[in-house]
Symmetry: C2
Subunit: 207 residues, 2 copies
């Protein structure tokens, strides 16, 4: 009969993750005090140290939680799925503190002495998987390499959102994401594929 | 007869800029103590406050100094010049502390409460100028917009270097820059232009 306790532990972990994300999103890593996170989550310090060991452990978990915000919403495949990941991501960054904190911590991690590529590598794996499906379904140009495209996209999206954040507080990020795809598609996809890829920004909101 | 004094002042400013860049590159903004910068530069606090007003002022100057490292080395035009800017940048980031500190501060600025888009906008202007020449010389596809391409490139290069830094300490950045261009060129340039664009990574080192 350990089930209810496990479920409660998972709920507590989720509450801590969300509270941590909100405080990291607002204050950055250095400004996010443990007490502030505990107050927001309404849990004890013991629970935080049980689940994440340290503030750094919580920050790493927030960085790695990004794909779980987006992946469950999608039902498309191949290259359209990859496009949809970026459109949902561009939209969610404006409304989802967990995603925003994950990106902020990933980008600023050097400022608090961390060097953790795992959130970037996690995105790369997810994107490469879409691209391998795209290869199987003959959507890409034969000269392209899925891993190169995936790694470029992770970097490009990271930088485009940074630019958009400085210019417009990310309000123009969905539009910039579409512009990115219009430029990129001719270099990676077959003309027949490009013709059927849907780049409507509304795809980022409707799922 | 104010000439020698003005020259000395400019030299002092340059020495402070380099010393600040080295310390920001090594320690980040928060870790870069004023005294450490003054020791490195072998100048007085008065000189620093005369030229930059504050540590934040020095950080802003370091961020904005990036193009001056690269532009004077180039003699190409149009789209090839834009490619060369990125190849020189990818190479210099491995050897030039001023450039490295500029990029680090631009990316991490949120962690010290700054929100200064001017180094990004500076790069955007320089890149858009190359692209306007490219339009005049009929190098681009008629559907493309120079400002969109320039803004995308500033973001993409920022993110690609962040990815490369985490994965390889930027050792693979020149290769990643070439991969980026192979993917991007078909979506922005005419086939005749692509055929004559030189993407040899050695272009980043030889100037």
């Amino acid at each position: 009969m350990t089930r209810p306790t496990q479920e409660r532990a998972l709920r507590t972990r989720e509450v801590l993750l969300r509270a941590g994300a909100e405080v990291f999103d607002e204050c950055g890593y250095a400004g996010a005090g443990i007490n502030r996170i505990l107050e927001r989550a309404k849990v004890t310090a013991g629970a935080l140290y049980f689940h994440f060991k340290s503030k750094e452990g919580l920050a790493r978990a927030v960085m790695s939680a990004q794909p779980a915000v987006i992946e469950p919403r999608l039902n498309s495949r191949g290259l359209q799925r990859l496009v949809d990941i970026t459109l949902v991501w561009a939209h969610e960054l404006q409304v989802n503190a967990l995603l925003r904190a994950g990106v902020r911590l990933s980008v600023e991690q050097g400022s608090f002495g961390l060097r953790d590529a795992s959130s970037y590598l996690g995105w790369k794996e997810i994107m490469a998987e879409c691209l391998h499906t795209a290869v199987d379904e003959d959507e890409l140009l034969p000269t392209t390499r899925p891993d190169d495209i995936a790694e470029f996209l992770v970097g490009a999206c990271t930088g485009v959102q940074l630019y958009s954040q400085l210019i417009s507080d990310r309000a123009d990020l969905p539009r910039r994401t579409v512009v990115m795809w219009r430029m990129l598609l001719p270099g990676i996809a077959r003309p027949e594929t490009i013709a059927r890829i849907d780049l409507d920004v509304a795809r980022g909101r409707s799922r």
